[in-house]
Amino acid sequence: MKSGSNLEKVLEAGHFAFTGELGPPRGTSAEEVREKAQHLKGMVDMVNITDNQTAVVRMSSWAACLILIQEGLEPNFQMVCRDRNRLAMQADILGAYTHGVRNMLCLSGDHCMFGDHPDAMGVFDIDSIQLINMVKTMRDEGKFQSGGDIEDPPKIFIGAAANPFAEPYEWRVHRLGKKINAGVDFIQTQCIYNMDRFRKWVKQANDMGLTEKVYILAGVTPMKNVGMARYMQKKVPGIEVPEELIDRLKGVGKKKVADEGIKIACEQIEEFKEMKGVHGVHMMAIEWEHKVPEIAERAKVLPRPKV
């Protein structure tokens, strides 16, 4: 075991993982975090806590992680390279680990200009792949990035993202390979809507032997309504929403769109369960945490394994 996190144990035991996501509040309400967390309890193996997502200031990821731990859930501490230099990153990793955080997701981070402080300096002292390597060095060699020794090194299960839907498509599997070389343990992908493209990417990764070196969790976000689908299609960089999916949502009548969105997600999950090289699903039910129990039930991923 590298970290002994619940997610690591679930994956090591060969179970199909099911992870969730929770966005911290734009304020100081621990109650809001607890309320969202309650919907996820027992439904997922681990919960990603986003880090100033879309470059909007929120309660810090590590702080919300601690609330999750208090609530008996396992957090995945997301860390972006946009807001911290290597000193702050390593300090936060030590602190979060000390308080029981065992998983991390290493990300570049959306550019500042998307968020509520568009004039801020983006730090990017190191990039996401270098962050993976830094956490691995801290864990496996007990060394800071500077080479200095760490007393009681943090044992973190190291995650990263992958986006099979951004050009150049041929490059994406190589980027996955770079992340593996840097030391990543698990991958959570961008939200998948174009299944063809995803199948091709996984096949390439299988052919290169990459899926034997890393756990892949397929990213799923159910569409709540047609407006959301259109927004994801037109406005969110790196997300590909096929027109047929929007047609299908439109075809069921306004009141049933959300239900159809969940149905589509469940069909995807069924396929992922059978797909070689896919080891689980990362459910990003954005501001829809209360729907996760229903989604988990319908996706037939319950009960979650006790490991």
Binding site: R82, S108, G122, F124, D127, I129, E167, P168, W171, P237
Partner: protein, 224 residues
Amino acid sequence: MIVAKRKPFEEIKTMLKDYKKVLTVGCGTCVAVCLVGGEKEVGILNAELSMARKIDGNPIDLGATTLERQCDMEFLDELENVVDEYEALLSMACGAGIQFLAERYPNKPVLPAVDTTFIGANRDVGWYEEKCRSCGSCVLGWTGGICPVTMCAKGLYNGPCGGTDDGNCEIHKDQPCAWFMIYERLAAQGRLDLIMEFQPITAWQNQKPRTLVQPGYEKREEAG
């Protein structure tokens, strides 16, 4: 070259509001080439300022001169005999030139008329693109001659990130993704292996003021 743009007119006017006799000092090198601080631009700025101050009923006496280079002490000596006639100096050079002028004449207020913007290249007449952040540790040899430190909005060394959108950067549809271009160029050259390897964390060379003495001149430097 160093590319600059003129400061907003009102900002310049406000800086000069308490002065009645000012020497505008242009620079004949980078800022002249990028059409912002050469002899011609000195003339235009002075004409605009004179006119504006006249209208305000607070006329100003403006002198004009353009030095070969403000970032070179030897050219600053030319002003020796005229500086005393003025209350302040308005420099149209880049930040380096402005600071050298201020250092050479420490008793005079030296004010900037331009904002130094970037190290760039001339795409077309009057059209400049940033190309270099002077990071001090050039990567162009393995990035297909395209600088990710400058051209990637996140300065990534292991790009492209997941935000590439139709070959463009996530920050704007008209901003090409540097790493997409790097990939395409290296693929065309059959050199993709250069970016397949993990690039370790950078030792930044630009986090403190830098001084450089070329090796051939070290001895003279030691002799003082």
